[in-house]
Symmetry: C2
Subunit: 446 residues, 2 copies
């Protein structure tokens, strides 16, 4: 018997996972490659960054997911090159032949050509990003406790979130809740409720993919919580002291990046037409023009909906539907190449979009039914629990949320990694019981 065809799947995000699951009964060998050993539920990553959840609550070992699907081999590694002409993929060191390849490698943040901003303005795409943000945010409050210089203290207590999409809105709301609700009683020298959270959005409204009335509601809710929303504000520079918006200087020790989308580097190696963000322009059946055995799904694909003629949005549900769609095509063609039906065109069934703003506040647009507030927040919570990958993660996230709802506190407030406070002038006031008359060396390696 000949070897079964090899399907190489690059990326174990929402799209890759659904695709591989869809191939469970197909006569193929599947090689699923990811840079990490876990599938990450990115929509809740901001809760790890803001100390509400632990990484293990929203990430699940890929091997474990496919434990009983025997036609899958999980590979931990990074694919740097896909050669469409040769039907090979791999790294620069070596390559491997595929029968089908599916690129499901998601997207990264775009710094608009300023990669040097990356080290200052951490994005939120990986678990390590989230723990880095968590460390920086918590260290900012720690540092502010000892900072005697008023300007430096103000900068430490200024948090700028760049990007007013769902991630930016959720981050800004969560930061405000930390500063206003969770930390105040724990600090002795500073009033953390004075912390400024500034959400900077380039266009004229938040959540631009939502209906305008929900954008307005999200902004009202954020402002009611104490977040400053800056619309039509383009960040023109980022440095160690803060950001520039045109001629305006904004001093901030904490800049978080939730703006821009670009396809990962491997997409460039394909040598096929892409859009401005580097997404591959694919056929209606999601294959790459001229390469019927190569597909792109999820954020990395630029595709026009076969039914509506609109571009398919870069959302988790779209990626999942694309994964299922391509799995069906591959399954049919490998089962009986002669009898396989012609490939259909992809149509995205939009069940709705939601974003949470804070505890008990969210906005939702479900098939044109638009609402906000407590009910939207409850629905948001339920839907996210549903889409979490394992029973264990569902249970743990639920328990954490219930506990936080009852106790009103974030308890995953651990500073891990290198501790560095960068205090300019150590505080010498506010006795009794303060770090008075001291300048302890408050920086060290882990």
């Amino acid at each position: 018997m000949a070897k079964q065809p090899l399907v190489a799947v690059i990326g174990a995000g929402f799209g890759g996972l659904k695709l591989v699951q869809g191939l469970a009964k197909a006569p193929v060998r599947v090689l699923l490659v990811d840079r990490h050993n876990y599938h990450l539920f990115q929509p809740l990553l901001y809760q790890v960054a803001t100390a509400a959840l632990s990484p293990a609550d929203i990430a699940y070992p890929i091997r474990r997911i496919f434990r009983s699907q025997k036609n899958v081999q999980v590979v931990l590694g990074e694919v740097t090159k896909v050669d469409l002409a040769q039907s090979t993929f791999g790294s620069e060191r070596a390559t491997m032949k595929y029968d089908y390849v599916v690129l499901a490698c998601g997207s990264t943040h775009s710094y608009f050509g300023h990669e040097e901003w990356k080290d200052i303005a951490t994005g939120l795409k990986t678990v390590d990003d989230a723990t880095t943000i968590r460390r920086r945010v918590l260290l900012a409050f720690e540092g502010a406790e000892y900072e005697a210089d008023a300007e430096a203290r103000k900068a430490k207590l200024t948090f700028v979130v760049v990007g007013g999409g769902p991630t930016g809105v959720e981050m800004a709301g969560a930061l405000r809740e930390i500063a206003a609700k969770d930390i105040p009683k724990d600090c002795r020298s500073i009033d953390t409720t004075m912390a400024r959270i500034i959400l900077v959005q380039g266009s004229d409204r938040l959540l631009p993919t939502f209906p305008p009335e929900l954008s307005a509601r999200a902004q009202r809710d954020l402002e009611a919580m104490g977040v400053q929303v800056r619309l039509n504000a383009r960040v023109t520079n980022v440095d160690a002291d803060g950001i520039w918006i045109g001629e305006e200087r904004l001093f901030a020790a904490n800049v978080l990046w939730a703006a821009g989308v670009q396809a990962p580097a491997v997409m460039k190696s394909l040598g096929v037409p892409t859009d401005r963000s580097g997404r591959v322009i694919v056929n209606a059946n999601l294959s790459i023009p001229g390469h019927p055995n190569a597909f792109v799904i999820g954020d990395a694909a630029a595709v026009t909906d076969a039914k509506t003629g609109q571009p398919v949005p870069g959302l988790a549900p779209a990626a999942m539907q694309m994964g299922k769609f391509v799995a069906k095509i591959i399954a049919a063609e490998t089962r009986d190449p002669a009898a396989a039906p012609p490939r259909p065109g992809f149509h995205f069934v939009d069940k709705g979009t939601m974003a949470t703003i804070g505890t008990r506040r969210a906005v939702a647009d479900i098939r044109g039914f638009r609402f906000a507030g407590f009910f939207a927040w409850t629905l948001w919570s339920l839907i996210h629990l549903t889409f979490l990958v394992s029973f264990r993660n569902k249970l743990w996230v639920l328990l954490n949320w219930v506990y936080q709802y009852i106790t009103n506190g974030r308890e995953a407030r651990l500073i891990t990694g290198e501790v560095k406070l960068n205090v300019k002038t150590v505080r010498t006031e506010d006795s009794p019981a303060t770090a008075a008359d001291t300048s302890l060396d408050v920086s060290h390696s882990p």
Copy 2:
């Protein structure tokens, strides 16, 4: 009114925490300095290292613990110098005056003068140590999946734990459970039950502080699980390929260090007599000879029990009792210096010692009542839950344990930080559904 006396407490471990809590009603200002922003429940750290628990399950923000004790200021920082003659403490940059100082800074591992072993043989003292060990252990299994070279694969699947005290015994047992129970079904190319776990102990029995019969029982249990126990085996060298025990070479890609105890560097700055491990030899009342306002508690103190004449062991319960003991002295002396009773001598009330070997297996010595097995394991679990610091941590650890007991699986199996597999020769066998014919570049930065 004059300022209240300042009590500087260095270290928020078991001893430091109890001490500060004991000063809640004393007329003092307390400055509690720790290198981390959380109190860590070290006895369960091995469960973080072995992917059973998340860091936030066993660590709790210090500020949160003392949220309502208003006479405490929590400082995140590292004390590098204590000047007993001047009654000052601080870093090399600056210093601060104290009225009392309590050194509660615990201990670190001793590499017997070979600090260069540290980078290879990770110790287990901090959260970052635990996530490093977790990463290395999980990457060893990942790497073994792709390793074609038989010797290199064997080395990847060899785990050496150096040190047969409670931490070493617990680590070895947990590693064996990962290899034999949790991982096997997730791997396609290797049989992880073949992984060798070798526990290397310098003396003639495991758990040397326990009664000999329990040492024997622990060894029997570990061996029944499949752990190789090497007694009277002194590690003479550690390098990238493994360890040397005298003339014997043991190839192992994973060396974990749970041996030796030494006091942290700050203790050396005191310029007072210490024992061989750097612990300060203190008076019966735990003060440093000649410096009645300076105390050492916990692992960093070498003290003879005032009642039994025996050295007090370096255990968490001893540290906690010392904390309470010194708090009483300071409270009495600051309330009314004239009326304070003469300082008593410290006596350690030994309520027992326990160590767990694996699920459903432990050994216990409770006031001379010695037992092992399921009952000891249940008791071990209950006692550890009791001593966890916050209700949240107790609840989360309990939930994790119950869940693992039911499902028989560790789910915090996340590889975070830098991914580096160090595969020597990439496997080209074992098709179908393997990383056949490939040598993917499987190393990358986070």
